[in-house]
């Protein structure tokens, strides 16, 4: 298909704003003199009962407007499970949990007052490890778990610390292992990680004198936030129409700004301070300890394969450290519990994905939504088992790769995909078969390979909608509610509308959303927005086009089927001389001979919901529903250089291929691959959240928690786009943003093994860990 704007790397439409300093982020908005500042008093205990809170000294400080505690807001919230309060009520469950707030005239006064609040705790036993939390007699974090409202596809186990247990069963596991020639069992561990968007969370709530709550929020989820605010604050008499969320530009999200975390605090505080705006901005330290983190994982895998390389069975048990509240994080557990076979055709499968409460900060969405953690173990084991039977690991992966029409673990047919093409292209790009020998005797070289897949994890009714409004000059305002968290959403949506309406993308303006004016969008998460919102935008553009053709037909009596749009004008196949520029009528109507006008402003609307999606699978097997709309697949490979004395590693070359379905803007996809890969590589090589035995995070800043700098970029990154169209995607497109991170950990682990014969099963794979492993091996590093 020959497109004019689709498949073209048109420049980002937010470019001038963002490189000139004009782009407005949440903290940049000026609220005038009636702005108040909130400061949070956080729990210093990982698990304790709150005996008393003395706010009297803080209240006396000049400039303090009010001090609030849990008593003021006994409201629960949560996206998938309502297990969290705006402020701790009778007990705290992690270090950093919000217990009270000071609202003051200046941030300095608020900070000073916060130090004057005295809280008396009665310590409870602390459980910081999911395996400990599962033991008989472990302290219960949520004794009332059975009463918590949650989505129907979650299965909490009352009187335990298990918030959700996703079981997937397929085929006959015992027979599968009986059929195997080789069976391997291994355990893999992944720690917690932090998103580290450079903009910390900020939200400003204003409850005006008419009883209207507006929240400006650095958010990936404006409509979901409005919904959760309205639900949580309903006891105050607020309804959805009274709550408005405005989301300016967002300085990075990666899942950390999905759903609601700290934003509920200024929203709630504002309701008690009519007429003021109340601002809360997390410091970098607060950002580390009281937003979502990536969940920790212990994964126990058992795989059976035949000598010909066929996988016969997989038993995959994944225990997640989901933290003190699982209101969003439990869905990570759910998503992976459905998909922990990886992109493989496996006839006999058992998956147990177990969501466990611990006294650490709440886990939640993070780019990759659990698949990175799951793939670290699985793709390490795949390489190990291929080596064990003496088969080339890429040939092994090709042999077992899931193809269109194969069944997933939950019994649904796999969507069209370019997995084999991705494997072959990566293999070629990295020159896989060429044996590497380092010229430097102190260095070892290794190659690592990994496949990946991921489906958007969404409720079955997650939907998108779009309004499209023409202006007099045939320029367009596209009014939608997805967030451009950096991926280039606004540009891609403009390209879709541009293609249908034959208006250049640079004549289309897409602004950040306001829930009052922009139509509904579930959330900008799950790498589904190009697909879902793209469908809605396409439909809105088609709706506008149909109105245009109907009007032209009415006035000129030309057959609708023969009309088309080209270069901002209506043209006709049967009357080549007909050329009616959009700007001549698109708002002001078409003038007729009798001096009347026909038509009027053209506005399009579109919506999309995947009506085949269903979460109604059997709780014991996950068979029977259609929980995922589709999977995006891909492959990655890299060359790693390891200093045999220090363990220091350097990625010399990395290739990653991803099946985008249709690359609406190839350069933006390549940008996602480059950025996502570096973020992924950092989680393997040096990022690491360290907690002490009291549950306190030891490295909540960029000095001690290392994220990559410009000096850490691999020498060569080769992004590869594969295009096997998604049948229900806009122009065939699928999401790719999160997937770019997924193969990083197993690629490194497999390359370390290739170089040194050392298999590391705990992330991160730091230089220190590698150096110690080399010493353990007695200096034998040739594997």
């Amino acid at each position: 298909m020959d497109y004019k704007y689709i498949g073209k790397s048109v420049p980002r439409i937010d470019g001038k704003e963002k490189v000139s300093g004009a782009a407005i982020f949440g903290d940049d908005i000026d609220f005038g003199a009636n702005l108040l500042y909130a400061e949070i008093i956080s729990s210093t205990k990982a698990h304790a009962l709150i005996k008393s809170i003395d706010t009297s000294r803080a209240e006396k400080l000049e400039g303090v407007v009010k001090v609030f505690t849990g008593k003021d807001f006994p409201f629960k919230f949560g996206l998938y499970m309502k297990d969290r309060y705006v402020f701790a009520q009778d007990r705290v469950r992690f270090v950093g949990e919000q217990v009270a707030a000071v609202v003051a005239r200046t941030p300095q006064i608020a900070k000073r007052a916060a130090l004057l609040i005295e809280i008396e705790y009665e310590a409870l036993p602390v459980v910081l490890d999911q395996m400990d939390a599962l033991k008989d007699g472990a302290v219960l974090l949520h004794p009332d778990l059975a009463d918590y409202p949650h989505v129907p596809w979650f299965f909490p186990k009352e009187k335990t610390n298990i918030a959700h247990w996703r079981k997937t069963r397929k085929g006959d596991l015992e027979k599968g292992f009986a059929d195997a020639d080789v069976i391997l069992e291994e355990t893999y561990e992944v720690p917690r990680y932090a998103h580290c968007a450079i903009e910390t969370h900020v939200a400003i709530g204003k409850y005006d004198l008419s009883g209207r709550l507006t929240v400006w929020s650095s958010s990936q989820s404006p409509h979901t936030q409005r919904h959760l605010f309205a639900e949580a604050l309903a006891p105050l008499g607020l309804t959805h129409k009274d709550v408005r969320v405005i989301a300016p530009h967002v300085g990075g999200g990666f899942g950390g700004k999905a759903g609601v975390t700290m934003e509920i605090i200024p929203a709630a505080l504002a309701t008690k301070l009519k007429g003021y705006a109340v601002k809360l901005r997390w410091t970098r330290e607060q950002e580390f300890v009281n937003t979502y983190q990536r969940l920790g994982v212990v994964a126990k895998l058992k795989i059976g394969v035949k000598n010909d390389g066929t996988i016969t069975a997989l038993d995959h048990k994944i225990y997640w450290d989901a933290g003190a509240y699982v209101e969003y994080g439990a869905n990570v557990v759910n998503a992976v519990g459905l998909s922990a076979i990886g992109p493989y055709r496996i006839p006999n499968v058992s998956i147990d994905s177990v969501c466990v409460y611990t006294n650490l900060p709440p886990g939640g969405a993070y780019r990759g939504f659990g698949y990175s953690e799951m793939l670290f173990g699985l793709e390490s084991l795949i390489t190990t088992v291929a080596n064990k039977i003496g088969m080339d690991e890429i040939a092994f992966r090709r042999h077992n790769a899931i193809l269109e029409g194969d069944t997933t673990a939950y019994g649904v047919k796999m969507n069209p995909n370019g997995l084999l093409e991705a494997i072959d292209k990566v293999k070629k790009a990295i020159d896989w078969d060429k044996k590497l020998v380092s010229k430097d005797p102190t260095k070892a070289l290794g190659k690592g390979f990994s496949l990946f897949w991921k489906a958007p994890a969404m409720p079955p009714n997650a939907s998108s909608s779009a309004f499209l409004k023409f202006n007099e000059d045939a320029s367009i305002n596209l009014i939608i509610s997805g967030m451009d968290i950096g991926q280039g959403y606004q540009t891609v949506m403009a390209q879709i509308a541009a293609e249908i309406l034959s208006v250049p993308p640079d004549k289309i303006r897409v602004e950040t959303p306001d829930t009052d004016r922009n139509p509904y969008e579930w959330q900008t998460v799950a790498s589904h927005i190009t697909w879902s919102s793209g469908n809605a935008v396409k439909k809105a553009a088609i709706d506008a086009r149909e109105q245009i053709f109907a009007l032209v037909h009415r006035v000129f009596n030309l057959p609708i089927d023969e009309l088309f749009l080209e270069d901002e004008a209506v043209k006709c196949n049967t009357d080549k001389s007909f050329n009616l520029p959009l700007r001549s009528f698109i708002v002001e109507g078409i003038a007729t001979k009798d001096g009347t006008y026909k038509g009027g402003p053209i506005n399009g609307r579109g919506m999309f919901m995947p009506e085949y999606s269903s979460a109604a699978g059997d709780p014991e097997t996950s068979q029977g529903g259609h929980p995922n709309v589709h999977y995006t697949v891909g492959a990655g490979a890299l060359i790693l250089e390891i200093d045999k004395e220090t363990g220091k590693m350097k990625v010399l070359k990395v290739a990653e291929a991803i099946d985008a379905g249709k690359a609406i803007n190839p350069d933006l996809i390549k940008g996602q691959i480059t950025g996502g890969l570096l973020q992924g590589l950092a989680t393997v090589l040096y990022e690491d959240m360290r907690y002490d035995k009291h549950g306190r995070l030891l490295n909540p800043n960029f000095t001690d928690y290392k994220i990559p700098t410009s000096m850490d970029v691999p020498d060569e990154i080769i992004p590869i786009i594969v295009e096997v169209p998604q049948p229900d995607g806009p122009f065939g497109a699928r999401g790719i943003g999160e997937h770019t991170m997924l193969p990083a950990a197993p690629m490194i682990a497999n390359a370390v093994f290739d170089a040194l014969g050392i298999r590391i099963r705990q992330m991160p794979i730091t230089a220190e860990k590698v150096a110690l492993a080399i010493l353990d091996k007695g200096g034998k590093t040739d594997g």
């Binding site: 980002r12 000139s20 903009e199 990075g252 700098t709």
Partner: protein, 153 residues
């Protein structure tokens, strides 16, 4: 409270500052310059970089009171007369994603190109090593800076 005089984006300004206010706070809250961003408030991320008499500094680490008599340039100042070659290259190469680090990155790159109009890739990496970007993987930033130097030839 103390009185200081500065030249901000070529305009002479006088203002009162608290002795404990950072340059970043004063620029953002008192002078309305929102391009310097607060990302860490302790000099780690570089989002708050501005030019102080031509040298890039982290404005979160400098007290405003120390800036009496100096010339300060923010990204707003650089952008007043339209996009320069560096900024055009940033748009061409999508050298930003969320855009939050972009002001600080452009300030650092501006300082680099002034001192060294034709830097090598390694020199670019070195000059940007204090600006954290979580989105782009840095490569598109390197590409833009290299392209901008070619444009100037």
């Amino acid at each position: 409270m103390a009185k200081i005089r500065i030249t901000l984006n070529k305009e002479k300004r006088r203002l009162d500052v608290e002795t404990n206010e950072t340059l970043l706070e004063v620029l953002r809250d008192k002078l309305g310059m929102k391009s310097p961003k607060c990302g860490c408030d302790r000099g780690d991320c570089g989002s708050c970089a501005v030019l102080l008499s031509g040298k890039s500094v982290r404005s979160c680490l400098i007290l405003a009171i120390e800036c009496d008599g100096v010339e300060i340039t923010t990204l707003e100042g650089i952008s007043q007369d339209g996009m320069n070659k560096l900024q055009e290259a940033f748009i061409e190469f999508s050298s930003f994603q969320c855009g939050y680090c972009a002001p600080g990155v452009i300030i650092s790159a501006t300082e680099l190109l002034k001192a060294n109009p034709h830097p090598s890739l390694d020199e670019i990496k070195e000059a940007l090593s204090g600006n954290l970007c979580r989105c782009t993987g840095y490569t598109p930033i390197f590409d833009a800076i290299l392209a901008a130097t070619k444009k100037e030839k």
